[in-house]
Subunit: 446 residues, 2 copies
């Protein structure tokens, strides 16, 4: 039998970091910019307050910055909180073929160790590339059956990514790295049943904390299985059907998983994005008046209604799972950021009225990033819009400028002027800056 986990551990430990290509480094910077923005943006959410309060009661020394706040806490609680924040808005990055959100469980753990150990941004960036590689390879090995069974893959495999990245920063040896992966395997976090509650963003946060804990214990000599991924009663067999372990041990360096990453232009589930873009086109290109609309018919990929079929959302969270609200927001506001999902917007009369006029039908021939929209107006005219590839999809990625704009919109109310300086630093994290140059700009003056 092939030794899957040991082979993976060898790659993590031995792969020469200088062979990571420039394009992977660039994509990791883009991931960091996007991740930091969504984490800071959601950092004052009530759920963050709750965990911070608990950290204050039972947590450890002030080792790591809580993004967007004016406080530090210990590495473990900081990983949990920063990981949670970055997933609260459902606005973080996605690798579409596994629906993995790669940054949320890995970056918090990397940041924690880098800040506490005075490492450089370059070391952190490279560790993230490794962590992303590991979590996505494991996700590929166990998906789609793993996700279909009900696991929230970002939480479950995220712990491996965090353990690998932290293990890399701590310079673990082969055996320690294998043990770290074993400890991570024993702690899968995240069920899809939790979607729509505070526990969903808790998943990647806990994955970050668990992965960190795994690597820190492995460094001290803590032992685990040497075949935690591939054994008969290991992670792969227990949590999925017929896992394909080969993808985990394919040679490193030919193709980097981080290059599959994509970023959301809109603050809701990625399957709604083509519909939102079609709505925005109706407003921005065709300049229509929403009051003139008789009916909107949107043809979508089947997953859209399965995941976001809520017809009459009553609050922010429900609106994010409503393709009807998403399209309406695109038409009325020309955007779908956090503000367009606020409770008062969700219940506003013109929004409610427009939602009622929207029909969504399944078209099995469409891809997930495609949509057809047909608008009929009360003067008898019609407009048809086709979205071939939604913005933010892999074929039409957000530009660096669009990512910067998203960052500013999410953070300016909290960073109050520091956001542009922080952006310019972020583009330089491939260099050996002290990580504190990032963390010191990422807190708020509350």
């Amino acid at each position: 039998m092939k030794r899957i986990t040991l082979s993976l551990a060898e790659n993590i430990v031995d792969f020469p970091l200088n062979l990571i290509p420039e394009e992977a480094i660039l994509e990791s910077k883009r991931s960091f910019l996007n991740w930091l923005g969504v984490a800071i943006g959601a950092s004052h959410h009530p759920s963050v307050d709750m965990v911070l309060e608990l950290a204050n009661e039972i947590g450890g020394p002030p080792q790591v910055t809580i993004l967007g706040r004016n406080i530090k806490t210990d590495m473990q609680f900081a990983s949990l909180i920063n990981g949670m924040s970055s997933h609260i808005f459902d606005f973080d990055d996605t690798i579409l073929n596994t629906v993995l959100h790669p940054s949320a469980p890995v970056w918090p753990a990397v940041l924690a160790v880098a800040e506490h150990n005075n490492l450089t941004t370059k070391e952190a960036l490279e560790a993230f590339v490794i962590g992303c590689e590991v979590e996505q390879r494991i996700a590929l090995a166990i998906c789609p059956s793993h996700y279909e069974r009900g696991w929230h893959v970002t939480g479950t495999v995220g712990a491996f990514g965090a353990a690998a990245a932290v293990g890399k920063l701590l310079k673990l040896d082969h055996l320690q790295m294998t043990n770290a992966l074993g400890l991570a395997a024993a702690q899968p976090t995240g069920l899809r049943e939790m979607f729509g509650t505070m526990t969903k963003p808790f998943h990647p946060g806990k994955a970050a904390a668990n992965g960190l804990l795994s690597a820190l214990l492995a460094q001290k000599g803590f032992t685990s299985s040497l075949a935690p991924l591939e054994a008969k009663r290991g992670f792969g067999q227990v949590l999925s059907e017929n896992p394909n372990f080969d993808v985990i041990i394919e040679p490193w360096g030919n193709k980097w998983q981080i290059l599959e990453n994509s970023y959301k232009p809109f603050a809701c589930g990625i399957v709604t994005h083509p519909g939102i873009e079609a709505g925005i086109n109706l407003k921005d290109i065709h300049n229509i008046n929403p009051a003139d609309i008789d009916e909107i018919v949107v043809e979508v990929h089947p997953l859209v209604l399965e995941l976001t079929g809520k017809e009459t959302p009553q609050n922010q969270l429900e609106a994010k799972f409503s393709i009807f609200h998403c399209v309406a927001a695109g038409i009325i506001f020309g955007k779908a950021s956090e503000a367009q999902f606020a409770d008062n917007i969700v219940l506003r009369e013109d929004v409610v009225n427009l939602r009622k006029k929207i029909k969504v039908i399944i078209n099995n021939s469409l891809m997930e990033d495609q949509v057809l929209l047909h608008a009929k107006f009360n003067k008898g005219n019609t407009i048809n819009i086709t979205i071939e590839h939604a913005i933010g999809s892999k074929d039409k990625p957000m530009t660096n400028t669009e990512l910067e704009e998203k960052f500013i919109e999410l953070t300016s109310g909290i960073l109050k002027g520091k956001e542009r300086e922080l952006i310019s630093k972020i583009w330089k994290i491939g260099k050996s800056l002290p990580i504190t140059e990032i963390t010191e700009l990422s807190n708020s003056q509350e």
Copy 2:
């Protein structure tokens, strides 16, 4: 659809504690005595040192006693460590029909909250009864398929027990309790692949810490699914086949799960115990000389070879998973405590020689607590021994005196004289003593 989790939460919150019968209280005291002994006994294991070192680096304030040590740490790390200690020797309690070890994931969390919040031993004891009830009902709902799939049930359902017990101590309301159970559902810990490594005892420790965290966050208003156990993508469906949720919501008070608990007389997996007892009988009753043995044939339940089939163990841990070593220890030493699994004993020439003479064969007609042993001697004579119910099984439970002797053997080297005073206190924990009367006697003077 029946509301399983909400109904469970209602029972946890509403069941009148004064209706817990005296026999359940007594069994819980016996559980506590046994649990505290094994936790103190293993409290100087290298894996405990590792986690303590980490707690010192990233943990919080000194809130809770580390059993058997001269230190306190925060509630979360203390739950992890005390839970680990109590499972390291594989010498803790078992509810046989699910193979759940009920104390290891629940008592540490109860102790943490009770000590930190200055509660009484009576409150702690009652909370444990509730926690045990919850974890075992959930285990019954998902076993055997859950365990067969490869989950370590003590870790996975243990978090529910800890969350319920802590939630009871914190006086959570129905909704908070449901959310606590939801958070616990999202954090299942423990794969059977980890057996034989430090990660196995890590499972109940982490379950205790996760359950504690779940209840503490729920108290602050953190939200989760309201149907985490029964939903399509909830804990039951995702982690088992055809779960039987009815057992979770059967009325409370007719039958208490703690009454199913049993305690190990020997420091290894429970399936080996009938074999050990047969070996002890050979020594104690028949007074044979091991050197005269030609061959030993042991007929066992099929699970024995599946779980403990290691023929040539090389160290303590492997010996615990070797029915061959277990029987040999019974024959040579007349006991199988920690000392009979020490590395030097495992490798001792007479032990190795006797192990080689032992053959183990499966007999499908035997129950798990039964064994047939046939000894042939070099003078031509034979002895046959039948164990109908092994000591420590539910039909032949350890007496209070035997539990006290086990406690003393495990703890006297650490407590150095305090052990008898502690035992007498433990029999009084049904009264409203400050919990500190227990914890202050449970540390060491290092």
